[in-house]
């Protein structure tokens, strides 16, 4: 049997026992930093730091990086997947919701899983793609575009259980990687523009039984936050949870960003702060109860979701050790909060913005006058653009440099206010909408830069300016490198201390995913995808 043969080969390479090679108990996830050869979850570790402890690649030898192998999608679409690498096996997802297991050393395919996604399903406001799987024990966990949570046997891709998270006819669609914690799988939903009502769900990892569900937008007039939606407008939905969050095992708290209220650009029918949209929510992992929330953009009207990955790190502030969470928001502000209490610590712009004078002592934005920033019939030029100062891609944090590396977009857009009326998605999958939209701002003013921020203060240490509108995350390594890419598809390595460019290679298409690093057979690799190809780099 071919699969068995590969397993034998890979086991031999890794020098591990077959069972050990396929078992990822919670303890391994908790201590993922101790095994830098693997990439065990979407964010690299529970803090979503996307930091690799590998040191083979350095500023001195980065110029010698080269393509070790490449893998081309079997179907179509753009790959946005963060692959997992577990004991020599890479688990990659492909559009719309397929899983492919590869030999991480050579790229040889081991097995595939292709879920039966209906071809006539039209998700509203998002690409039908997938950003990765989670692993726990001997199973992989996949959330499909048509809202199934599927447990696969990590050895062979066979389905062990399959449960429906939501009804796609209500506008729900999922592209994110689930988060595996102790015996549980946590997963959110997308589809806000269709009127999907946001929630975060937790399932038993063994059998797929729903353990709890937290709704991010009220469902009745007596629900918490309902008084922040005028005229019962919470019924529109929104506040979806479409990007993977983080977890603190000691506090046993899950941190997850929430999306925009709907309709996006016409807020007249939903006056109020619209809780808990555009917020970071802290959820007790056992009960699903809200411990605290922090709303970045009250009554948001520019489609600036707060779904960006929250990065957890510890630091000493004023002589006291603090557990912190940092988030570079689509609204162009960088925030640092106390992750135990939700207390606002600091917030500063990390990209060009023209909508707020600043933040008050509690972190609430002090907005410029409405006529200056609100969408209008003719279009109001505001920075950042609809796509945000950052979107779904991930920043990273290096515990060595103490820097937060973000690919920041400086761009504006003319925001247009449309009809206030909002119609929820219906079963033909093509209704919904945002109450307006945007058209591009001055094109020649759009740039993206890799910015290194002091993680505790947000102060910029260096920046590397790139041409165009890049959609790539960042990766920091213990070897002293930061990897990312520009909009043309130049995958590049920078010096993590200085931002000095060290190496680049044009991959021939836009890089639309987050880089990862791992080791196989003792050798360090860096992987990222461009267009419909995954490229894996190494030193000679």
């Amino acid at each position: 049997m071919r699969t068995a043969k590969y397993l034998v080969m890979l086991v031999a390479l890794c020098g591990a026992l077959p069972v050990a090679a396929q078992q990822v108990p919670y303890e391994r996830l908790q201590k993922s930093d101790a095994e830098p050869q693997n990439w065990l979850m979407y964010g690299g570790n529970y803090g979503s730091q996307r930091f690799s402890g590998l040191k083979e690649m350095t500023p001195q030898n980065a110029k010698d990086l080269r393509v070790a192998w490449a893998y081309q999608l079997r179907g179509g679409g753009v790959m946005e997947s963060t692959p997992l690498i577990v004991d020599g096996i890479m688990y990659l997802t492909e559009p719309p919701s397929n899983v492919t297991a590869l030999d991480a050393r050579t790229g040889k395919v081991l097995w595939r899983y292709v879920p039966p996604v209906p071809r006539d399903f039209v998700p509203v406001g998002l690409f039908p793609t997938n950003r990765g799987v989670a692993i726990l024990g001997d199973k992989l966990y996949l959330a499909t575009i048509d809202d199934h949570l599927v447990a696969l046997d990590a050895k062979n891709g066979l389905v062990r259980w399959n449960t429906v998270i939501a009804d796609k006819a209500d506008g729900y669609a999922i592209t994110q990687a689930p988060l595996a914690i102790n015996g549980k799988i946590v997963v959110g939903v997308g589809g806000g523009e269709a009127g999907a009502h946001g929630f975060l769900s937790c399932y038993d990892a063994n059998d797929g039984k729903l353990l709890w569900r937290f709704y991010t937008v009220p469902r009745t007039a007596s629900d918490p936050g309902a008084d922040t939606w005028a005229d019962g407008s919470w019924s529109n939905g929104g506040g979806t949870t479409w990007n993977t969050g983080s977890y603190d095992p000691e506090l046993n708290v899950i941190y997850w960003g929430t999306g925009n209220p709907v309709p996006d650009w016409n807020g007249e029918g939903r006056m109020g702060d619209n809780l808990f949209t555009c917020s970071l929510i802290a959820i007790d992992a056992d009960t699903g109860k809200l411990k605290w929330y922090f709303q970045f953009s009250p009554h948001e009207t520019h489609d600036w979701d707060s779904s960006e990955p929250p990065i957890l790190f510890d630091a000493t502030l004023n002589g006291k050790p603090r557990k912190l969470v940092a988030l570079a928001n689509r609204n162009a502000f960088y925030y640092v909060l106390d992750r135990a209490s939700g207390e606002f610590i600091t917030g500063v712009p990390f990209a060009k913005q023209t909508w707020a004078k600043g933040l008050d002592a509690k972190g609430r934005p002090i907005k410029f006058p409405a006529e200056q920033i609100e969408p209008s019939a003719e279009g109001t030029l505001v920075y950042p653009a609809l796509t945000g100062a950052i979107n779904w891609t991930s920043p990273c944090y290096s515990p060595i440099t103490g820097l937060f590396y973000v690919n920041a977009r400086d761009a504006g857009a003319y925001y247009v206010k449309g009809e206030r009326k909002f119609e929820k998605n219906n079963s033909n999958g093509i209704v919904g909408g945002g109450g307006g939209g945007s058209r591009p701002g001055p094109a020649d003013e759009t740039t993206t830069s890799i910015r290194a921020l002091n993680a505790t203060t947000g102060e910029k240490k260096w920046e590397y300016k790139m041409v165009g509108d890049s959609w790539t995350g960042t990766l920091a390594t213990a070897g002293g490198l930061v990897f990312s890419a520009d909009s043309a598809g130049n995958f590049l390595a920078l010096n993590a201390d200085t931002g000095e460019p060290l190496w680049h290679l044009l991959l021939g298409a836009a890089v639309r995913s987050n880089p990862v690093s791992y080791a196989a057979d003792g050798k360090q690799y860096v992987a990222d995808s461009a267009g419909n190809t995954l490229f894996v780099f190494s030193l000679p």
Binding site: P96, F121, I145, I430, G437, R439, V467, L492, L506
Partner: protein, 267 residues
């Protein structure tokens, strides 16, 4: 010819040739009657309305709600460049950074096409006052086809004019012909670069990324520059390869505008 140019012109002219073959081979729009073979259906107002909804849900995120471009390119006038079948192919199969839209069946993709082909249309406008047939003579006498293509005839340095009358009103032509540098079309801005060893080149910015700048000169030659070897990169606002036609007689100008306004592509 500097070293960089000679090195790249040889290679890039091959690409240029390939691009030209591609252009000629690409669908130029369905023949009159709205069909290309049996594949292109006749579009109804309901198709266009449904296509508009799908566009808002699936396409507007990159192409903007009015199709004028954002992360993805401006789609105004795309039907003249690619034809209905070409648009269908891009939606179905993807191109460049654009993914194939796998979630739509063929009928829905055609509905998207039916809407996209309307983007940028200026609709009914006051008719130009000149004589289109005489305007074609002005067009030919002034050598416009050296740089511009109409259908399968003409050069590729300037924008293709096959359906320019659908997306530009007569007033635009008057203004542009008198002062083309004032408002050049997107993608035709000029850039002047000087290399560290003193070579001076001005051309249309074909592409630019963090490391490389590619220019095209008025003769259609490509120049690829390593940006670390450039002393200066200077955009040339107000300048264009397009000559000024402010010396045309009023009658010739009227006739030329009437001709350009009559170019509506294959409809």
């Amino acid at each position: 010819m500097n070293a960089i140019r000679s090195l790249f012109v040889a290679g890039l002219l091959i690409l240029s040739g390939a691009a030209r073959i591609g252009l000629n081979a690409a669908p130029q729009g369905p023949p009159p009657g709205g069909t290309q073979g049996a594949a292109v259906p006749n579009f109804t107002p309901d198709d266009i309305a449904n296509g508009k909804q799908i566009f808002a849900a699936q396409c507007a995120g990159c192409h903007g709600f009015d199709g004028s471009g954002q992360l993805g390119p401006n789609l105004h006038g795309v039907e003249a460049r690619r034809g209905d079948a070409g648009i269908f192919s891009v939606v179905r199969n993807g191109t460049g950074a654009m993914p194939p839209v796998m979630a739509l069946n063929d009928q829905r993709v055609w509905q998207v096409v039916s809407y996209v082909r309307t983007l940028g249309d200026i609709g009914p406008v006051e008719a130009a006052k000149g004589d289109p047939a005489k305007g074609k003579e002005v067009y030919d006498q002034n050598g416009c086809s050296v740089c511009h293509a109409i259908g399968m005839t003409g050069g590729g340095v300037g924008p293709q004019l096959t359906a320019i009358g659908r997306t530009r009103p007569p007033k635009y032509f008057y203004d542009f012909l008198r002062d083309p540098g004032k408002n050049p079309p997107a993608g035709y801005d000029l850039v002047r670069v000087v290399t560290k060893d003193g070579h001076d080149t001005t051309g249309i910015r074909v592409s630019e990324d963090t490391f490389t700048l590619v220019l095209r000169d008025v003769g259609g030659h490509f120049y690829s520059f390593d940006k670390t070897k450039l002393k200066t990169i200077e955009p040339q606002p107000g300048k264009t390869f397009m000559p000024t036609y402010d010396k045309l007689s009023a009658t010739d100008l009227d006739n030329l505008v009437a001709y350009l306004s009559s170019l509506k592509g294959a409809q």
